[in-house]
């Protein structure tokens, strides 16, 4: 095992990795930007190195500075978390060159999976289903028609040179094919000067299902079952769960196997995730592979009891996977809500600022993966994710009930968060029934929410009026007290908000 690991990240994921290090008895080193001196990761590590100004490109994204901190601290390995340098093959190569172990796959695996077309070709060759279609442009109308019939309608016509939706046409029926193909070609011609198009199957109302895999350097692979991440806002995952309500044991086993084949195709080492789209008939199609730890890894940990981060570190240190496929059992159900510093009642605008008070829920089946604390000032420079709330229950109903009860007592003041948004999703009928796809939040949920009447308006007015009243009273009292006694120490007040109350 490593003696010392450097964590090249910040926020909740840096704290998550720190926890794993401490449990393994490995010394931890973090890097922090000038904006992050008081961040939780810089408070919790064994060692901390400042690597530059607030902007990420001058600190967390600066490969030279990260490597320098690793050298200076004699770290033998680097955990990149997610984001920043986590899927950067140049960083992986640099680590290799410096003989520092990157806790993640090889630069080759990153590069292959980082390219959409290369990844698609590689996994297809390994027998993994991809969205059916022609990757090459098709010459004649007849060829397009034949292919579309072959894969079945609806199909999507896409300009080979395309992008930004130009030259794209959704064709639902064969009778529309000829005219839509003409339009697509002419649009492509005028937009890109090239009228070639290709055909892809259109997956309607897909669900996002992904498979967590782990591999070691001895060629052993296991999958830890699926996560469903269909609850997305503007293509960003916001709520994830495991297992998925639509995945049967047979489908799970089959998907697990193809995910392992995809990983094997690039000699994948460590923790990775194969993302799939799934249609109504439970057909699944490879989307991409994330060659890193994912934000939503906790739901898999909750149902399998396996600490993915510790396993990741162990296999990076050259150990064999400590368990086999048959040892992996999914028990119960787990849900994760991502808590962002965004205001769900003002179109999700980011809300950096000082967290003036914080009470995180606890009790049975509740896990808090946080990167913040009361008194912390959330910087304006980074991702708005501040923590994740995860619940476990013996079944989905209990997991949802626990999430609802946990959210109901989750208090963050000073900045707005997405906690109220999650409360609303957790009481939405479609969500509770498991009846959703990746368009649910944007197309169904928000529409329903706009029509829902708000409750407790009178209590809102009453409390606001009392707060306004108290503030005025306090101002006038402080003014008078000041006249009589002279200025008070802010110190005394900050320490004992209700200091006079004893007895």
């Amino acid at each position: 095992m490593f003696q010392k690991i450097l964590i090249a990240n910040r926020g909740e994921i840096a704290v998550r990795v720190l926890r794993a290090c401490r449990e393994l008895g490995v010394r931890s080193v973090v890097v922090f930007s000038e904006a992050d001196r008081k961040s939780l990761h810089a408070r919790y590590a064994d060692e901390a190195h400042c690597i530059g100004p607030a902007p990420a490109r001058e600190s967390y994204l600066d490969i030279d500075k990260v490597i320098e901190a690793a050298r200076k601290s004699d770290a033998q390995a680097i955990h990149p978390g997610y984001g920043f340098l986590a899927e950067n093959p140049r960083f992986a190569e640099r680590c290799e060159k410096e003989r520092i172990r990157l806790i993640g796959p090889s630069a080759h695996a990153m590069r292959t999976m980082g390219s959409k077309t290369l990844a698609r070709q590689t996994v297809a060759a390994a027998g993994v289903p991809v969205v059916p279609g022609t990757l090459e442009p098709i010459a004649t109308d007849a060829e397009v028609a034949r292919f579309a019939r072959e894969i079945g309608f609806p199909v999507m016509l896409k300009a080979t040179a395309g992008g930004g939706g130009k030259g794209m046409r959704l064709v639902r029926e064969e009778s529309d094919l000829a005219s839509f193909l003409r339009m697509a070609k002419s649009e492509a011609k005028s937009a890109f000067g090239d009228d070639s198009v290709y055909v892809e199957k259109y997956i309607e109302n897909p669900r996002h299902i992904e498979i967590q895999i782990l591999g070691d350097r001895f060629g052993n692979y296991v999958h830890l079952g699926e996560r469903e991440c269909s609850i997305q806002r503007r293509h960003q995952k916001v709520i994830e769960e495991s297992p998925s309500v639509i995945v049967t044991p047979e489908v799970r086993e089959a998907m697990g196997k193809v995910a392992i084949e995809a990983a094997r195709a690039v000699k994948y080492e460590g923790a990775g995730t194969c993302e799939f789209l799934m249609d109504r008939n439970r057909n699944y199609y490879f989307l991409e592979m994330n060659t890193r730890l994912q934000v939503e890894h906790p739901v898999t940990e909750m149902v399998t009891g396996i600490d993915i981060v510790k396993e990741q570190i162990r296999v990076a240190a050259g150990e064999k996977l400590s368990f086999r496929q048959e040892d992996v059992k999914q028990a119960g159900h787990s849900i994760e809500c991502r808590i962002y510093a965004e205001d769900p009642d003002r179109n999700f605008i980011p809300c950096p600022g000082v967290i003036t008070s914080l009470r995180v829920p606890g009790g049975p089946g509740v896990r808090d993966d946080s990167g913040v604390y009361a008194g912390f000032e959330i910087p304006i420079h980074y991702d708005p994710i501040i923590s994740k709330l995860i619940t476990w229950g013996k079944d989905r109903e209990e997991a949802i009930a626990r999430m609802r009860r946990a959210l109901s007592v989750y208090v963050v003041t000073g900045v707005k968060t997405t906690v109220p948004f999650h409360i609303r999703v957790m009481r939405n009928r479609h969500f509770i029934e498991g009846n959703f796809d990746t368009n649910f939040i944007d197309q169904v949920f928000f529409k329903e929410e706009r029509q829902r009447p708000l409750e407790h308006q009178e209590m809102a007015l009453i409390t606001a009026a009392i707060q306004a009243y108290r503030e005025e009273r306090m101002r006038s009292m402080t003014r008078r007290a000041g006249d009589a006694e002279g200025p008070r120490s802010m110190w005394k007040y900050a320490g004992r908000p209700s200091g006079r109350k004893l007895g």
Partner: protein, 167 residues
């Protein structure tokens, strides 16, 4: 103390009377409510209404705008005491047709989309403020001429900072 709240276009008269301990009589449109309101943190209240328990999070934004969270629902309204309202009404006449664009969050000005003196439409984007890796385009709420710009590109601004004035 007398207050006026404006919610959904309607004015609501509210009076607050302290009756000892943490007890209050709050009258809304002549109906009296007896509550026990305990302050837990700077903007967090535990309210007992008869025996029902409420946890209420009251955010006051500039210009007496309130956002109140109760059980996942967010109520928005303005609320101010009567004197202040009278003062603003008296002084506010001259400000008709003017609109100050302020920053809805702390962040950094990445782009000014207009120059001083330029004519703008209502809802036209005038400035872009970045926070947490997201760019947010802010609009002018009125049509008019950009009277004054208070910030430069690259400048870091606080929540509620004045960015530019359209009139």
């Amino acid at each position: 103390m007398n207050y006026v709240a404006t919610i959904g276009g309607r004015d609501v008269r509210i009076t607050v009377e302290e009756t000892g301990g943490s007890n209050y009589v709050v009258t809304i449109d002549r109906e009296e409510h007896l509550v026990d309101a305990q302050q837990i943190a700077s903007q967090l209240w535990s309210v007992l209404y008869w025996n029902a328990v409420y946890e209420v999070d009251v955010t006051r934004h500039p210009a007496d705008e309130y956002e109140v969270l109760i059980r996942g629902d967010c109520h928005k309204f303005t609320l101010m005491n009567e004197q202040r309202r009278a003062m603003i009404r008296a002084g506010g006449k001259g400000a008709a047709g003017k609109a100050m664009v302020t920053s809805p969050m702390p962040g950094k000005v990445v782009r000014l989309l207009v120059v001083e003196g330029q004519e703008v439409q209502a809802d036209q984007g005038v400035i872009v403020v970045e926070a947490m890796k997201m760019e947010n385009e802010l609009q002018s709420s009125v049509a008019g001429k950009v009277k004054e710009i208070f910030v430069r590109e690259g400048e870091v601004v606080e929540l509620g900072a004045k960015l530019l004035l359209v009139e």
